[in-house]
C-alpha cells in the first residue's frame, strides 16, 4: 500500500493516467446516478436493482453482438430492451410498492436485484465477460496517459445521453409531467396527469439509462452477474453527494467518484477497491448527517 503511494509520488504522471481512466468510468456512474435520482425524486423509491439494470444492459449488448449486431449499435438496443424490462417490472412489482413505506420498496427492489442477479448467473454463467469493439488505444503526452478509444466513446456517449435526458425533462410534455409529478403528485393528478403512467415511464426510462450504461461498460470494461450492487451503491453515493435536482452536480460527483476510486484502487490494491467504495459511502453518509446536525450547534 505504502509502496504504491510511493510510486505515485515517484511518477506523478501515473496519477494523471489513473485519473483520466477513472473519469471515463465516472461518466457511467453519473449516468446511472441520474436515473436513480429520477426514480427517487418521482416515485420516492431507492432502486436497489439499479446496478442489475446496468449488468443486464451489458449482457444484452453481449448477446446482440453475438448475433452479429455491430458493437456500437448495441447501445440503443440495450436501452430499448431495458426500457421494456423496466416497464414490465413496474407493472409487475413496483406499482404495488410506490405508495408504501420506504422499507417495503427498498426490500422489494432488493429482492428484484437478487432475482436478476441469479437469473443472469443461470443464463449467462458467472464468468467475467467483455465485448471487443476493435477500436484502438489512444496514447497521449508521450505515453504518459494511455486511454482505450472505446472509453472515450463511452465517456462522450454517457454525457450526451445524460444531457438529452435533461433536455427531455425540460421540454417534452412527458418530461414536464414527470417533473410535475415529482414536485406534487396529488396536484398532478387533479390536472389530469396519469401519474401511474408517469411512474411507469420514469422507472422504464431509468432502466433504459442503465441499459445504455451497461452496454458501454461491457465494451470498455467488464461485466459479470454479480457486478450490480457496487453500481447501485455508486449511484446512491453520487446522488447523496449531488442532490436530486442538479445535473451538473451529478456529473461532477460521478466523474469525481470515478477518479477517486481508480486512484484508491491503485493505492490500496485492487482487492480493496470494492471495500473502498462501500466504506466511502458509509463515511459520507455519516459525515453528511453529522454536518446536517451540526447546523444545530449543540453546546453539549
Amino acid at each position: 500500500m505504502l509502496e504504491n503511494l510511493q510510486l505515485l509520488f515517484d511518477y506523478p504522471t501515473l496519477g494523471a493516467d489513473l485519473i483520466a481512466n477513472g473519469l471515463m468510468i465516472g461518466a457511467i456512474f453519473a449516468l446511472a446516478a441520474f436515473g436513480m435520482a429520477l426514480v427517487w425524486g418521482v416515485l420516492g423509491i431507492i432502486n436497489i436493482a439499479q446496478g442489475e439494470f446496468v449488468m443486464l444492459g451489458g449482457f444484452v449488448a453481449l448477446t446482440a453482438a453475438g448475433l452479429g449486431v455491430p458493437p456500437l449499435a448495441t447501445i440503443p438496443l440495450a436501452a430499448i430492451v431495458l426500457f421494456m424490462v423496466g416497464w414490465g417490472l413496474y407493472r409487475l412489482v413496483i406499482f404495488r410498492v410506490v405508495d408504501r413505506d420506504l422499507f417495503v420498496s427498498l426490500l422489494a427492489t432488493f429482492g428484484l436485484s437478487i432475482i436478476l442477479q441469479q437469473l443472469s448467473n443461470e443464463i449467462f454463467g458467472a464468468d467475467v465477460r467483455t465485448l471487443e469493439t476493435g477500436l484502438g488505444t489512444l496514447v497521449l503526452f508521450d505515453g504518459q496517459i494511455v486511454l482505450a478509444e472505446i472509453k472515450l466513446v463511452s465517456f462522450v456517449t454517457a454525457l450526451v445521453v445524460g444531457l438529452a435526458l435533461w433536455a427531455f425533462l425540460k421540454r417534452a410534455r412527458l418530461g414536464q409531467a414527470i417533473r410535475a409529478t415529482s414536485q406534487n403528485a396529488r396536484a398532478a393528478r387533479i390536472l389530469g396527469i396519469d401519474t401511474d403512467r408517469v411512474y411507469a415511464a420514469t422507472y422504464a426510462l431509468n432502466a433504459a439509462l442503465c441499459g445504455a450504461a451497461g452496454s458501454l461498460v461491457v465494451m470498455a470494461w467488464t461485466i459479470h452477474p454479480y457486478i450490480g450492487l457496487p453500481y447501485t451503491v455508486r449511484s446512491f453515493l453520487v446522488v447523496i453527494v449531488a442532490g436530486l435536482g442538479n445535473i451538473a452536480a451529478v456529473i461532477a460527483a460521478g466523474l469525481g467518484l470515478g477518479a477517486l476510486e481508480n486512484v484508491a484502487g491503485f493505492v490500496l490494491g485492487a482487492e480493496y477497491q470494492i471495500a473502498f467504495v462501500f466504506a466511502l459511502m458509509v463515511i459520507i453518509l455519516v459525515v453528511r448527517n453529522f454536518l446536517l446536525r451540526r447546523k444545530r450547534e449543540y453546546l453539549k
Binding site: 431507492i46 412489482v93 404495488r96 410498492v97 408504501r100 420506504l102 422499507f103 417495503v104 427498498l106 426490500l107 422489494a108 432488493f110 429482492g111 428484484l112 436485484s113 437478487i114 432475482i115 436478476l116 442477479q117 441469479q118 437469473l119 448467473n121 443461470e122 450492487l229 451503491v233 446512491f236 447523496i240 490494491g269 482487492e271 480493496y272 470494492i274 471495500a275 462501500f278 466504506a279 459511502m281 458509509v282 453518509l285 455519516v286 448527517n289 453529522f290 446536525r293
Partner: protein
C-alpha cells in the same frame, strides 16, 4: 385463543426442542441451524421491528463474532472448551463494542440512509476480511476442531445453540416489557416526537444495537465452530444469504412482535430445508421471488395478519367506563 392454550402450545414446543435431536439425530445439524435462524430473526427484530431501524447489515456482528471467537481459540492456546468459552465471551463483547462505536455514527442516520449504510458496512466488512491475512484473507479460517475422542459433538452444539436462542428470547422478552422497550417502540413510531418529549434516544438506540450485536456475536462464534470453516463472504459476512434471511424471517413472522421472528424463522427454515434441495441451483432466484412476494403481499407477516383478524388476542379493546 386463551392463555391456557398459549401456554400449552409453548410447553409442547419446548418439550419437542429438548427431545428433537434424540428423536431425529440425522437432522441434528439442521435443527441446530434452526436455532441460529431464530437468533438471527430475534436480534434483527430488536432494531428492525421494535425500533424501526431496518438494518441490512446486521450480519456484520455475526461475522465479527465468528472471526473474533476463532482468533481467540487459535491464538490463546487454551484447551478446546476453555478456548471456546473465552472466545464466545470475547465475540459477544467485541460485537457489542463495535455496535456502540459504529452506532455513534450510524444510528444518527434515518430510514433508507440507515438501511443502505448498514448494507455498505456488511459488504465492506466482507471485502476487508477477504483481503486481510491475519484472518486468512480470501481462503478463510478453520476454528479448532471439537476433540475427536469425545462423542456428542452435534448434541453439544445443538444444546448450546438452543440455550443461546432461549436466553436471547427471554432477555429480549424481559427488555421489551420495560420502559426501555417502550422507548424503542416510541422511536419506531416517531423519533422526532420522542426527542421532543425528552427521551434520550441516542442512548436507547445504542443500547438496543449493542444488545442485538451481543447475542448475534455469540451466535457467530458458535456457528463458526459448528460449520468448522469461516469464509469471509459465504459464511461470516454472508449478506446474500444469512444477511437477507434475517430480515425476511422477521417480516415473515411479523415485525415488531416478540413471537413473530421465532415463528418466521421456524417456517422459513423448514420450508428452505424441505424445498431448497429440489430447486437445483435456482434457490437464490426463488429467494428473490420470495422476498418480493412477502414484502409486497404479506408485509405484516403471520402475526401481523392474525393481529388484524383477531385484535383482541393482542389486548386491543374498547373499554366502556362504568
Amino acid at each position: 385463543m386463551t392463555d391456557a392454550q398459549k401456554y400449552a402450545l409453548v410447553a409442547t414446543g419446548l418439550l419437542f426442542s429438548f427431545v428433537a435431536p434424540f428423536l431425529l439425530p440425522q437432522f441434528a445439524t439442521q435443527l441446530t441451524m434452526l436455532w441460529l435462524m431464530v437468533i438471527f430473526a430475534l436480534t434483527w427484530d430488536t432494531l428492525g421491528g421494535q425500533m424501526g431501524y431496518n438494518s441490512f447489515g446486521n450480519i456484520l456482528f455475526f461475522g465479527i463474532g465468528a472471526y473474533g471467537c476463532a482468533v481467540i481459540q487459535r491464538d490463546l492456546g487454551l484447551d478446546y472448551f476453555a478456548g471456546l468459552a473465552v472466545g464466545l465471551a470475547f465475540a459477544a463483547v467485541l460485537s457489542a463494542i463495535v455496535a456502540i462505536v459504529l452506532g455513534a455514527g450510524m444510528l444518527g442516520l434515518r430510514g433508507h440512509y440507515f438501511a443502505i449504510g448498514t448494507l455498505g458496512l456488511g459488504i465492506a466488512a466482507g471485502e476487508i476480511a477477504g483481503g486481510w491475512d491475519y484472518v486468512g484473507a480470501g481462503s478463510g479460517m478453520v476454528p479448532p476442531l471439537y476433540p475427536v475422542e469425545l462423542a456428542g459433538r452435534e448434541l453439544f452444539f445443538y444444546f448450546l445453540m438452543f440455550a443461546l436462542a432461549l436466553v436471547t428470547f427471554l432477555v429480549l422478552r424481559a427488555l421489551y416489557a420495560t420502559k426501555f422497550g417502550l422507548a424503542l417502540n416510541a422511536i419506531r413510531d416517531d423519533e422526532d416526537k420522542a426527542e421532543a418529549m425528552g427521551l434520550r434516544t441516542t442512548q436507547v438506540k445504542s443500547l438496543a444495537w449493542a444488545v442485538s450485536a451481543f447475542f448475534l456475536g455469540i451466535g457467530g462464534g458458535l456457528a463458526g465452530n459448528l460449520l468448522g470453516f469461516i469464509d469471509p463472504r459465504d459464511v461470516a459476512f454472508a449478506g446474500a444469504t444469512f444477511g437477507v434471511w434475517m430480515v425476511l424471517m422477521a417480516i415473515l413472522g411479523g415485525k415488531g412482535t416478540l413471537w413473530g421472528p421465532v415463528i418466521g424463522a421456524v417456517v422459513f427454515h423448514i420450508t428452505q430445508e424441505l424445498f431448497w434441495t429440489y430447486l437445483l441451483g435456482w434457490q437464490r432466484v426463488a429467494l428473490g421471488l420470495l422476498i418480493v412476494a412477502i414484502v409486497v403481499f404479506f408485509p405484516n407477516g403471520i402475526l401481523g395478519t392474525l393481529r388484524e383478524r383477531f385484535p383482541e388476542w393482542f389486548g386491543e379493546k374498547v373499554e366502556e367506563r362504568v
